[in-house]
């Protein structure tokens, strides 16, 4: 069997004494699209930044290993990390317009990672950039390449960012909520583009989002994060059909349905995500979970509930019946 494109094992990230990421395991196989789902503050983006070695400020890598295509990443040296960025693993962000340098032409920015790594001179990078812009569906790439980001729409800017991330043909693309700032039609186009690029280039994608609709449309496999831990991991159909963690079940219940009775209030998960310095002992979802019992004072392990379906809950067997009264 081939090595997984990305294997994160037992990742821990700390801010001072507090663990904001507490033992995260994620595996992305070649060409696979894995969605990382969770509320704000659950640690999705930090997991991604850890892979890139871009944890800034007071955040530090406190444990666990990250391997790209079987080779363990050395997070201690900036030079080693820099050699990987843009080459083996790329990242795109939300806010496509703000993510492009307002004073540099779009073409120069798409070619940036080639030039920054000395893989091509400016002229070669420029022509490669134009090809790449064409690949991501930008009309008149020769003309667009000379324009500034402010002359492009948000959706175009996101295409440009995707082009710049994929120009060096990385094995893994990390997409941190790339469609959050875009309206739904453009969002659908970008998702379609990413799916096409995956088919054409075989690039694996770790897709971070809080939008379950996007997950259903794009992902092969889903990791649900809560409180700096993975609480459930399954193939996308299994997760939507038979969630094994109450948090996932409640997230699914928050999606409004066309066939639900009129004037019935939309479902919401009570409470908010606790701060990382105030996590409850044991299962971290305990304080918001209707199934919580004394057993939940002990941390549940992430263990298989069905083939290929992992969940960290003592009461997985009760999840199926927990909110049936409102469906």
């Amino acid at each position: 069997m081939t090595e997984p494109t990305l294997q994160i094992t037992g990742l821990q990230v700390q801010v001072g004494p507090h663990k904001v990421i507490d033992g995260v395991d994620i595996t992305v196989q070649p060409g696979q699209i894995v969605a990382l789902v969770g509320e704000s503050g659950s640690g999705k983006s930090l997991t991604a930044l850890s892979v890139m070695g871009l944890l800034g400020g007071k955040l530090r890598h406190a444990g666990g290993t990250i391997s790209l295509s079987g080779k363990q990443v050395d997070h201690t040296t900036e030079a080693a990390m820099r050699a990987l960025r843009g080459q083996q693993v790329s990242m795109i962000f939300q806010e496509p317009v703000a993510s492009l340098n307002p004073l540099l032409s779009v073409g120069a920015q798409v070619g940036e990672s080639l030039v920054a790594h000395g893989k091509a001179d400016a002229r070669t990078a420029w022509s490669r950039a134009i090809d790449m812009l064409r690949d991501v569906g930008i009309p008149e790439p020769e003309k667009r390449a000379r324009q500034l980001p402010s002359q492009l729409s948000g959706g175009m800017c996101q295409r440009v960012m995707i082009a710049s991330a994929l120009i060096a043909r990385p094995e893994l693309l990390i997409a941190d909520e790339p469609t959050t700032a875009l309206d739904v039609t453009i969002q659908a186009q970008i998702l379609e583009l990413m799916r096409q690029l995956r088919e054409r280039t075989g690039t694996a994608i770790l897709f971070i989002t809080h939008d379950l609709g996007v997950v259903a449309a794009l992902a092969d496999r889903v990791c649900v994060m809560y409180g700096g831990r993975i609480v459930e991991q399954a193939d996308v159909d299994d997760l939507f059909d038979a969630p094994a963690h109450p948090y996932t079940r409640m997230l699914l219940a928050t999606i409004p349905r066309l066939d639900s009775p009129r004037k019935k209030p939309l479902f919401s998960i009570p409470g908010t995500v606790p701060d990382h310095d105030d996590w409850p002992q044991g299962c971290r979802f305990r304080t918001r979970c209707p199934l919580a019992s004394d057993h939940c004072l002990q941390s549940p392990p992430l263990e298989p509930k069905a083939p290929g379906h992992l969940a960290a809950c003592w009461h997985s067997d009760q999840v199926a019946g927990m909110i049936d009264h409102d469906r």
């Binding site: 890139m52 871009l54 820099r82 050699a83 990987l84 960025r85 843009g86 080459q87 790329s90 990242m91 795109i92 962000f93 806010e95 703000a98 993510s99 492009l100 340098n101 307002p102 004073l103 540099l104 940036e112 990672s113 920054a116 790594h117 960012m161 710049s164 991330a165």
Partner: protein, 285 residues
């Protein structure tokens, strides 16, 4: 809608009406400095002891003193034209030197943070807390006066201003998503600084540099006034003012004309600087 447009145009127009004539003053002074050997009617250093302290418009021994003569009978107009060279070149070179040094240090402090930031910014605080003129006197006492040393002194006292602005600007630009993306694409930190941060803070630095330019002209004049600047017989507005002070009751022109030139130069540079900062700051547009 049109009302707003007219008012906006009116505002811009008003700005240009004021700045326009003064930018002509600046251009004239710059041209005078560049073409001094062709423009000056006389040798600025040739003395004529029989034509001492002649009032403007008088002629002595075949030389017409358009703006009068100084205490050694040298043509004041020629000395002012040559003096523009000193003022402008000292100001320009010291602005460039302090700007490059200050911006580099400020950007390094703002991007690398940690101990680099601590050392550079505390050093800047120390330099800012020493009275500039005292620092200048000490430096000149150690290095000796002269054209190059004046530039060094000015750069030494003024770099913290650029460092602070560059530091603040770098802090805010370094957190922009496009800098994060550049790093995610594998750009090294010198590349991030030069290609992604510097172009985005250069406008702010240009505004500071323009305002500093006027200040440098005054500073050079002040040092020369105190005898710490460019040494005689090289003509300098500050030094001429200093001499003119002794004769201000009997020969008012010696101090007056260099003073007017100084005033016009600094005013025009400052007005252009204000206009530039208004133009480059989208909030005030």
């Amino acid at each position: 809608m049109t009302d707003i447009a007219t008012r906006l145009l009116g505002r811009i127009g008003r700005g240009y009406r004021v700045v326009g004539p003064f930018s002509l003053v600046l251009v004239a002074l710059v041209l005078a400095a560049i073409f001094a050997p062709w423009l000056a009617p006389n040798d600025p250093n040739s003395q004529n002891l029989l034509g001492r302290l002649k009032p403007p418009g008088t002629e002595a021994r075949g030389i017409l003193y358009l703006l009068g003569s100084d205490e050694l009978g040298r043509d004041l107009l020629s000395r002012i034209i040559y003096g523009a060279r000193v003022s402008l070149s000292v100001a320009l070179l010291s602005v460039v030197l302090s700007g490059v040094v200050g911006t580099t240090l400020g950007m390094a402090a703002g991007y690398l943070r940690g101990w680099t930031e601590a050392v550079i910014m505390r050093l800047a605080d120390i330099f800012l807390s020493i009275p500039a003129i005292l620092l200048a006197i000490i430096t000149v006492a150690v290095l000796g006066p002269g054209f190059v040393n004046v530039i060094l002194v000015l750069a030494l006292t003024r770099w913290p201003r650029y460092a602070r602005v560059a530091y603040g600007q770098t802090l805010s630009v370094a957190n922009m998503p496009y800098v994060r993306l550049a790093r995610a694409m594998g750009a090294s930190w010198p590349r991030v600084l030069l290609r992604h941060i510097l172009p985005n803070i250069i406008a702010a630095m240009a505004v500071i540099a323009t305002l500093e330019f006027g200040l440098m002209v005054l500073f050079e004049a002040g040092l020369s006034f105190l005898g710490l600047g460019v040494q005689p017989p090289t003509p300098s507005w500050g030094a001429t003012l200093s001499v003119g002070r002794n004769y201000v009751t009997s020969a008012w022109w010696i101090a007056t004309f260099p003073g007017i030139c100084l005033f016009l130069l600094v005013l025009s540079v400052n007005l252009i600087g204000d206009r530039l900062s208004e133009y480059l700051n989208p909030k005030s547009r």
